[in-house]
C-alpha cells in the first residue's frame, strides 16, 4: 500500500543491532512475544498464541492486576524478513479492527524496524491535550 495515500497513522522507528531475520522471527514466536510484548505498567505476564500463516490468527493476552487485556488479529502479509502485516484488535481500539505494518529495513549491520499503526482508532474522550496547534503539529509529524 502507498503510505502517502493513507490517513494519519502512528509511525514508530527503531534501529536495532540484529539481523532482519532474528527481529522478524521475534514477532511470530510465542515465547519471544511473551517476553517483549509486555507493556511496563502493571502487566504481570503475557501469553501469546500464534498461527504464523497468512489468514492465521494470533492472540496476545496481557495479564494486569485488573484482569486480562486481550489483543488479537489476523496475519495479512508474512514476507520474511522484510514485512509483516496484521490486523490488531484490543480494548484500546474499541474492539475494532486496526492495521499494523512492520517493515524491517537493512541498515549496514543493523536493522531499522518501522511500525505503522493505522485505521479505526478509538480515542478516549478524557485524554485531552494542549492547544490545537500543538495537536496539528503532532499529526503532521506522524503523517507519512
Amino acid at each position: 500500500m502507498n503510505a502517502a495515500l493513507a490517513p494519519a497513522a502512528v509511525v514508530v522507528r527503531r534501529t536495532i543491532s540484529a539481523s532482519a531475520e532474528d527481529l522478524f522471527d521475534a514477532w511470530l514466536d510465542p515465547e519471544a512475544l511473551a517476553i517483549w510484548m509486555r507493556p511496563g505498567s502493571g502487566i504481570r505476564n503475557t501469553q501469546a498464541r500464534v498461527e504464523p500463516r497468512v489468514g492465521g490468527r494470533f492472540e496476545i493476552n496481557m495479564h494486569a492486576e485488573s484482569g486480562v487485556i486481550p489483543h488479537s488479529g489476523v496475519y495479512q502479509v508474512i514476507d520474511r524478513p522484510r514485512r509483516l502485516v496484521f490486523t490488531w484488535i484490543s480494548p484500546h481500539t474499541g474492539e475494532r479492527e486496526s492495521l499494523v505494518t512492520v517493515d524491517f529495513l537493512p541498515r549496514e549491520r543493523r536493522t531499522e524496524v518501522v511500525v505503522t499503526h493505522e485505521q479505526l482508532p478509538d480515542a478516549k474522550r478524557d485524554a485531552h491535550m494542549g492547544g490545537w496547534t500543538r495537536a496539528l503539529e503532532k499529526l503532521e509529524e506522524f503523517r507519512q
Binding site: V12, A18, L23, R38, G94, L120, K124, T133, L139
Partner: protein, 122 residues
Amino acid sequence: MRHTSIFTHMGEYQSTRLDGVFNALCDPTRRAILARLTDTDARVTDIAADFPISLNSISKHIRMLERAGLLRRSVVGRDHILSLNAEPLSEAAAWIEKYRRFWEGRLAALDAYVTSKKRKRQ
C-alpha cells in the same frame, strides 16, 4: 453484557468520527485551510482567494472539514464565516500519542530481547 454493548457503541461512534478527522487531515490543502484559521476566523471567499484552485474545489474541502467537525460556519448577512473547532483534533492526537508510546515501548523491549539473546549465543 449491557456494559460491554454500551462501550462498543461509544467506541463505534468515536471511531467513525475519528475516521472523518483523519481523512480530512490527509490532504495538504485542508491542513493549510485549518492553519489559516488558527489565529483568526475568515470568510469563505477570503480563504478561496488564498489558494490557487477554484472556489468549487475550496468549497468541497471546506465541506469535508465541516463534516469532520473541524470547522464551524456562521452566516452573517451575506458572508459565511468559518472558524476552527479544535476538539476532534485533540481526540485524534490523543489516540496517536497513546499508540506511539505503546509501540516505542514495545520496540525498546524487542531491542532488549534480541540483544540479550545474542549475548547468550556468544
